[in-house]
Symmetry: C2
Subunit: 339 residues, 2 copies
DNA sequence: CTGTTAGCGCCTTCAC
DNA sequence: GTGAAGGCGCTAACAG
């Protein structure tokens, strides 16, 4: 592997001049620049980023830590991050925690050791120790999607508002008994969506029936089981609110297995839209989150922090969700409407 | 940021001793080991992998370059890679090319600069220059999923056999006119699947009608358009073979929009299964590829190459596909059968 | 506009 | 079992 010394020798200049040509930093005459470029091409020289990072203390690399790369929502976020980052010459290392505290800690340590310039992190649980560690090390972090009990930049969606919109939509259609199929209480979005659900009912003057609220996790199995448990109630609801896309799919399957028709026998609404490429027939009424934009915005914020010219105080960016009304809630509309 | 020098001073030893403790290399007495460990903990020392990599010429990092991170097939492969790699202390940098030659070249260059120890790469097209470059640099590469015109380790699935199984299955059900909705000719799997299709028909003594073969790309839009074009034929086929999961979904939508019922009006089979978490009702007969295993096997192979104790000659691993018969092909079976 | 010097943090090599 | 010396490839800081 040739180094800048080899290039320098061949071009008849000092190594530092080669460095300047590569990084387009400092003054280099057009003449020597051309000679250096030629030498680089002739030798097939490739810069060594380890050495560069060691010396300059910048790796031009971001760490992205998500909870579930299997969920299209997160791959979409990742694309937003990737596009925004590469537009500024940064690359991204993607890590998957499976909502595990231990894995999260492990990846944060690894990324720290790899000297990433900043973190984009979806907290696996409500434990903030990993994030606190990053902050202690003075490495910029932006928390994605969820909020934590820590002063830190956050970019997330309006889960409370999205849930409110969905419940209000169901109430307007005449539903009064609406069950909630929830996620883990350790995840802030799950809690926010319950809050929005309660507010929607409260504003409509409909009392909350605690027997209609379930909490498990963001999985299809969870959605299936919660739906089954709801269906066993003596006094069944007329509508279900699934707080995540996987839960919604589990609910659809459980309803189908129980021989119930959507929306005639049971209305259903969900959170997070599925990509068009993956779904045969979009029929689920959802509060869609701007996943791609969330990734891009968070990255922009992180990059300003890395540049060091942002405001001092932590910022919280909350992106609106979009209510997309389709067949599953029981209206004949299939086009999107604002929300 | 503390360095090994700080740790060494605190523990009253030489830096090299700290290094030995961290890497568990060489002899260190139990006594000093404990003192060093304590100093590390007290200072909150984190090793710097850039420095380590620069010196040792190993980064314990693999580059994984895939064509479409939006496709659940690739995220599953990625998980297989990730699990196998982290089991051996390696981390993975995941890059997405969107089937673009230029992006692939860009990422390969970047990963080379980052000094990854090895590559797992899904070729974006049939251009092999990027792979050749990696080989010139003496960095081990394993090609995933597709085969290329180059002597290189490859781990892929038996596309030809899977296609053969699907076509044979349709033929056994009595179909004689089977259309093929294909992918880009620049992608070897697309070609292999056509080959399997032709062999299946040939062995059954059914002549190939070239008017029933379409080739576009692995997208839902492509599947939709190809299906429409097939439906315009004066002499329609009775079954469709979609060579990829996205194409299959596009076909389902096109058939539905045309008011045709699956499988009564038109049978349909596809390639690649969709994860259970994402699909409401699995009804598509498919040749499923062992995505996770493909990633894991490829990683194992790559790691032996990195260790340098593998055979010299390139290896080609071909994993079998599994025929999963469901409703869409027109049989009343919904359980999996071997293939 | 170009060059010299030094050192980032670590590990390899050799010495004791 | 432990340490001293040196250098991986690059760029910051300072000259000129």
């Amino acid at each position: 592997m040739p180094t800048i010394y080899d290039v320098a020798r061949r071009a008849g200049v000092a190594p530092v001049t080669v460095s300047r040509v590569i990084n387009e930093s400092g003054y280099v005459s057009e003449d020597t620049r051309i000679r250096v470029r030629e030498a680089i091409a002739e030798l097939g020289y490739t810069p060594n980023r380890l050495a560069r990072g060691l010396r300059s203390k910048q790796t031009q690399t971001l760490g992205l830590v998500v909870t579930d790369i299997t969920n299209p929502f997160w791959t979409t976020v990742a694309r937003g991050v990737e596009d925004a980052a590469s537009g500024h010459g940064f690359s991204v290392i993607l890590c998957n925690t499976d909502e595990s505290e231990a894995k999260q800690q492990q990846y944060v340590d690894l990324l720290l050791e790899k000297q990433v310039d900043g973190f984009l992190l979806v907290p696996a649980t409500d434990d903030v120790s990993a994030i606190a560690l990053v902050q202690e090390r003075d490495v910029p972090v932006v928390v994605l999607d969820r909020h934590v009990s820590l002063a830190v930049d956050t970019v997330r969606c309006d889960s409370e508002g999205g849930a409110y919109d969905l419940v209000t939509h169901l109430l307007e259609l005449g539903h009064r008994r609406i069950a909630l199929l929830g996620g883990s209480p350790a995840v802030s979005t799950a809690q926010d969506r319950i809050d929005g659900y309660r507010r929607g009912l409260a504003e409509a003057g409909v009392p909350v029936d605690e027997a209609l609220i379930r909490q498990r996790d963001y999985t299809q199995e969870g959605g299936y089981a919660m739906t089954q448990s709801i269906l066993e109630l003596p006094d069944r609801p007329t509508a279900l609110f699934a707080v995540n896309n996987f839960i919604a799919i589990g609910a659809v399957r459980a309803l189908r297995d129980a021989g119930l028709h959507i929306p005639d026998d049971m209305a259903l609404v969900g959170f997070d839209d599925l990509p068009m490429a993956l779904v045969v027939e979009p029929f689920l009424t959802v509060a869609a989150q701007p996943a791609y934009e969330m990734g891009a915005r968070a990255t922009d914020l992180l990059l300003t922090r890395i540049r060091g010219d942002g405001a001092e105080a932590p910022i919280e960016v909350i992106l609106p969700t979009e209510l997309i009304v389709r067949r599953s809630s029981g209206v004949g509309i299939t086009t999107a409407v604002g929300g």
